[in-house]
Symmetry: C4
Subunit: 233 residues, 4 copies
Amino acid sequence: MLENLKKEVYEANMLLPKYDLVTFTWGNVSAIDRDKGLFVIKPSGVDYDKLTPDDMVVVDLNGKVVEGDLNPSSDTPTHTVLYNAFPELGGIVHTHSPWAVSFAQAGMDLPATGTTHADTFYGPVPVSDALTKEEIENDYEENTGKVIVRTFKERGLRPMDVPAVLVQDHGPFTWGATAEKAVYNAKVLEVSAEMAYHTLQLQGHGDVSVPQYLLDKHYFRKHGANAYYGQKK
Amino acid sequence: MLENLKKEVYEANMLLPKYDLVTFTWGNVSAIDRDKGLFVIKPSGVDYDKLTPDDMVVVDLNGKVVEGDLNPSSDTPTHTVLYNAFPELGGIVHTHSPWAVSFAQAGMDLPATGTTHADTFYGPVPVSDALTKEEIENDYEENTGKVIVRTFKERGLRPMDVPAVLVQDHGPFTWGATAEKAVYNAKVLEVSAEMAYHTLQLQGHGDVSVPQYLLDKHYFRKHGANAYYGQKK
Amino acid sequence: MLENLKKEVYEANMLLPKYDLVTFTWGNVSAIDRDKGLFVIKPSGVDYDKLTPDDMVVVDLNGKVVEGDLNPSSDTPTHTVLYNAFPELGGIVHTHSPWAVSFAQAGMDLPATGTTHADTFYGPVPVSDALTKEEIENDYEENTGKVIVRTFKERGLRPMDVPAVLVQDHGPFTWGATAEKAVYNAKVLEVSAEMAYHTLQLQGHGDVSVPQYLLDKHYFRKHGANAYYGQKK
Amino acid sequence: MLENLKKEVYEANMLLPKYDLVTFTWGNVSAIDRDKGLFVIKPSGVDYDKLTPDDMVVVDLNGKVVEGDLNPSSDTPTHTVLYNAFPELGGIVHTHSPWAVSFAQAGMDLPATGTTHADTFYGPVPVSDALTKEEIENDYEENTGKVIVRTFKERGLRPMDVPAVLVQDHGPFTWGATAEKAVYNAKVLEVSAEMAYHTLQLQGHGDVSVPQYLLDKHYFRKHGANAYYGQKK
């Protein structure tokens, strides 16, 4: 069942240690088959060096396991909410990459401090609202998805313009058209957070955001109808 | 004598360089056989790339060497005190991992700044009281163990809830049900300290602790009767 | 066409990942044949581990592609302006190396904080003027080259004395007599920026510049008629 | 001539890249044969991956080359002064390791912030006096040696108690009974500087020095007549 997608999700998961985005098993990648309404996700707590494509778990859009011997990632309800709320998403990534986590723990948006950020994220990457005591005590992982969706709605953000969020006190989720692009975005987020941290320290925590016209230039140089970076597809 | 435990302790010691937790020989791991009342520990000052399982030293709960040609780790009296005071401990680790050491040298508790920390440590990791001049001049390594025990008692902490301590001006000790789990905790401590440092810098050293209900959720999601992270054992 | 130069440029590009100066495809190296008035540059958005010497693109000094199946780097117009304005340049490098980017994003010159810097750069590495809205919206990459040239003119700097610039909000360009020397300078810039950052934090952001006579000594020990570092050529 | 010492010095030089202490060729190690009054040193500006034991240069205590086809390190006059002034020295190392350089550039002593430092250095590692304009313009490298000796004299420091110095605005020199021990000290210095930097940031730049009795305990646990760390020799 969904053998190609399992292979894709397996390979995207294996990029996390390759790109230095995980310690131990603290990350997971999923990807969805929109026609079938099913997504494939990493099993919970399995070491990367023991992982195989067959270990991947198939889940439906109600969060029910459809195929697989192992428990899916404990963050599966978060992925489920995001796939339901954002139909553009093809793949989702969660990590505890340390620079992105530092902004999440500080409860700060990641500001757009330069073109490295602007090439991928059209503006600051938002930190989510904090979950309430009630949201944490019951259906925590599902509510994590809901607070992400709420944060994007409140701020009028479109998920494919800013394909990342910092869940407050926790860490980043990123997404994209495919699992591989979602992992790419997770790495850009980490590098952008590292650069933003040092920029803020150099500047004494003043405003370090790029002007809107530079953000426009870099984002649209790589995205949308008039993009001209890279090779013709 | 205790060949399996020696192999286990050897392998746990070899995880320290693998996880980037040691420079030169600055770390040691031990594990205990509670039935026999004996523990196995790394020899003092031997390079990791020359270490073999047979080099491990067997020590009793009075700190006396029972088997082994080499001197045991100079921190053996600290391990002895901890095994005697905390019967839940199966393995103990000491390292000079740099982020954890920085908090120990600053004389600061490691605050619980996010879920990465909360998944493993149920609250701040305490910095120990400073040893007095007298405690340092005589039986220093034994007194290091005693000050750890005293710190846990004074604060009403249970060693398996917070399986780590920062010995002031020195560095971390961690522990767990096995040597391997103690090494796992040493790595989590280092990563959590790195994240906490950057969170504190971003926040201007304000309060960066997570709320108690988030700490509860993440700790008990992974530990105790209702844990649901990972695969069924 | 220009097979040797293509090989040279290919090899210089492959030094960028070797020296830890790039993430993904975020860097490019070019070199020029001054007699023919043609330069060779990396294609846009091609992975380093798929790159071959034959992928290199040949461009003339009007920025027109003369040979090559792939699109040249999107930064080609910046390279074109620099080769035209600075006849001493044999090779040019652009990266998003994180320490240099942090100073570029902070809008700060990289001060000459010690001899590591002074051995290669004869004074601070300037941050460029910010591009205006108009300069960004039209012919952005060409204007990036022009603002670099303008910055060097305004400050009375000679490009071979300070073979590097920090384009504001963006990142570093470096250059040299050859592509390989330009990559060398890119690495020295990154290491110098890392050291300067920590020096500034230790000093509380006071003046951390070396005295002029130390700058003179170290720069001229390695450069010019009386250089005595290294082996006779 | 001195084939064993050449091999020793070659191997100690090769430890510098292994321990991540050098970029490019920015480091050098020497060792002395006190009976013959000759020392062996790395040639100037030769890549580590092309270096062979035969490339090593033999120099006498007047700084004259006695054997070798290549120029010796440009820092040879500094080594010469140190071997003459400090008869206990068997080996000397110079690097531009970034954490140690940051303290040198900030013009700050490296404080003894914990036991990692105290195990090797009996007190703060001094930053040297700044060289005067005259000392820099003539016989610069020789004067670098002299200012190190002057700094130790002024402060009443014995070179084997604190086997390291930070040359102001430049970087560290370390030494020891052998070339290998001098490299060991160079690595301890770098790790101690990294830890001290983060300790200072956490503490708001207050006093972060350990008490004298802890310094005594750790230093003499490893050095001198009553040392008990490691195995019997």
